[in-house]
Point group: C2
Chain length 192, copies 2
């Protein structure tokens, strides 16, 4: 999907923040993934969830289904992911997620993704080459400063200019966007 510029970014733009719950690494089973609908950086408007396989290959598909099947879908303007790996190394292909949902996607991390370490870690998993391709498919990693702190962005279907504006707009309580801060609090707070 091509990059489409936002004509206008409303202060109450509806953003979905996505994060995963706690789980025991390298086990079989599923982990919950929570989606939080936020109005800009202001308030919570809804919560949705799905499950993905730990170290599996279904994160992109399950998150897309969660979004497209939600009653909030038509109001959403953007998806923010807490990085591109969920439930261990279940990698989200952000370009496919962008295509499947028709929504721009921003994957954010506080730490710079260390591609060498990721590649090494992937070698311990089946189908490591396929996973590695999905990591690379996220494209360029942009370093930006938000409220005085560095964060790292990977983008699909959105320009860096617009992405920075929306990250700034939604980072009302910290240097990290509220939809992701709250998705993290919920996903970790509801898992054992």
């Amino acid at each position: 999907m091509e990059v489409r510029d936002f004509r206008v970014i409303k202060s109450e733009i509806r953003v979905l923040g996505v994060d995963d719950g706690k789980f025991t690494p390298h086990t079989q089973g599923n982990v919950i993934v929570v989606g939080v609908v936020f109005r800009g950086g202001c308030w919570l408007d809804g919560v949705m969830h799905t499950e993905i396989a730990i170290d599996g290959f279904d994160a992109t598909e399950q998150i897309a289904s969660m979004i497209n099947g939600s009653s909030h879908c038509k109001q959403l303007r953007l998806v923010m992911l807490n990085g591109i790996t969920f439930g261990g190394f279940n990698v989200v292909d952000i370009k496919k997620l962008n295509l499947a949902t028709k929504l721009p996607v921003i994957a954010l991390t506080r730490e710079k993704p260390d591609l060498d370490s990721i590649r090494e870690a992937l070698k311990n998993l089946p189908e490591s080459e396929e996973r590695w391709k999905m990591v690379l498919a996220a494209g360029e990693i942009f370093e930006v400063t938000c409220k005085g702190k560095r964060i790292y962005l990977e983008l699909a279907g959105i320009s860096l200019v617009d992405a920075r504006k929306i990250v700034e707009l939604t980072s009302t309580r910290s240097s990290f966007p509220e939809p992701l801060r709250v998705a993290h609090l919920i996903a970790s707070g509801i898992t054992p």
Copy 2:
């Protein structure tokens, strides 16, 4: 526990909002109960959870353990419950919860609790007299107006004057306090 007046009510008073998730009525099993730490009516500071038995007798104990075992416990100043029945007719004894947590408790509902209907419904459950006593133990039901809408309060360890102030203070997005609005969105959003 006696009623203790608040010396001062800070705008960012930490309030725990508690609500239950979705479940199939009259089945055996557990339902998730979510606690949401809110700073006044402003923003979410943490999430905790527990499980209770559908139509069981463990709601008071499980919610007290969830609160007392939480890292947020010392910062909390008040507990708000979405009514006094969770997971069907698992009744919270708000006076016992007040004693067990040393925190004032407000149970709120939008609809006036219909005691006659509750008593009738309880007859279909085992130990209905014990449940009925717990319903009555909540004491007087106060009708108050918040942002132009009627709501109903049952109180333990807090005066009506203070309870009204805190309900008004935390009702920033609707006529219902944010800790309960958000607890409801989360608990229902993470259950199937």
